[in-house]
Symmetry: C2
Subunit: 193 residues, 2 copies
């Protein structure tokens, strides 16, 4: 897969905003079964190898799993506070859970788990997210095996087909639209902010 033209822009933004750890957070919008949107902050876990796929992690017990199974389409909104620029990235999500049949993707799921902090791994052993608050003890589980993901650990891959890049700096602001066609070729159009 060719590296998309917006990849270097994301790399540049991550570099220029690296003083702020939350520059790796973005907002992921999905659609619920009732047709209403859902929106939450997630952590960018890098690209999958040399592909254009964005890595995110989630818990199979979270509400977004059913949403994604029903409607895999998602839009990421990623605002960088230092450089004052926004990327809107839309595409389809793929769920790589413990039962996924592709060995390469299982390998990616495992290495993503291994790259997590102990603290981040522990959260997958916490009581089910979104349910009535459990006892304090339940939040101090034995540390999970750092080598092998817990069964509820899920890798999410976003495969972008459109990226809208807005720079608030500039007079007027600058905005471009990157669009992928059926031949996996990316076009670039400068648009009005």
């Amino acid at each position: 897969m060719f590296v998309a033209p917006w990849r270097s822009l994301i790399a540049r933004a991550l570099h220029r905003n690296r003083s702020q750890p939350y520059s790796r957070y973005f907002q992921l919008a999905t659609v619920q079964a009732d047709g209403r949107p859902a929106n939450r902050t997630v952590v960018f876990r890098g690209f999958l190898g040399d592909t254009n796929l964005l890595k995110i992690i989630t818990d199979t017990r979270s509400q977004k799993i059913d949403q994604i199974l029903d409607q895999p389409w998602a839009e990421v909104c990623w605002y960088f506070t230092v450089t004052r620029e926004q990327f809107r990235i839309s595409g389809e999500l793929a769920l790589i859970d413990a039962s996924h049949s592709n060995p390469e993707l299982q390998k990616a799921r495992r290495s993503t788990w291994q790259d997590l902090s102990d603290n981040a791994r522990s959260q997958f052993a916490w009581p089910p997210p979104g349910k009535t608050r459990g006892q304090q003890e339940a939040f101090s589980p034995p540390p999970p095996d750092p080598a092998n993901p817990l069964p509820n650990f899920c890798l999410l891959l976003l495969d972008p087909i459109e990226v809208d890049h807005l720079e608030l700096r500039g007079d007027p602001q600058n905005r471009w639209c990157y669009l992928r066609d059926q031949f996996n070729t990316w076009s670039t159009t400068e648009i009005n902010p």
Copy 2:
């Protein structure tokens, strides 16, 4: 309307994060006609008087207008970087455009316009957002009348029915769900992060 219990939490977050101007930005997710989500950064313009309605502004030429007419449901994701807390606010959006019949809401639309900076007002006289980039001169329109909104200026009001508040600080993290029932009464439940 009674002030919702999460209002003071938002006020506190805005106060504690006031050193960062982008603390007034949040991500607004809506759903497109094809059932896919859309997600973009918008600016919080305060609450409407003493109600629980969040004010946002938009341009009637922007894509979100058709989305909202088709599916008024939205979810805001608001992450505060200093205090490391997130509010997810879901509810229905109402569009208050130039033709809206309610005089009180027209008054609110007008005063929101008056509160904008000259620069923010000028953007409503720019070429249509999202279209192929216009000439540079088109971005230097005569300054619009500060007293009376341009016809394409639209006030958006979000009427929350659910608020999910997550504090990343805390061991474990703290999370609460605020839910409005049919009698406009808010319930609070502490839930697992």
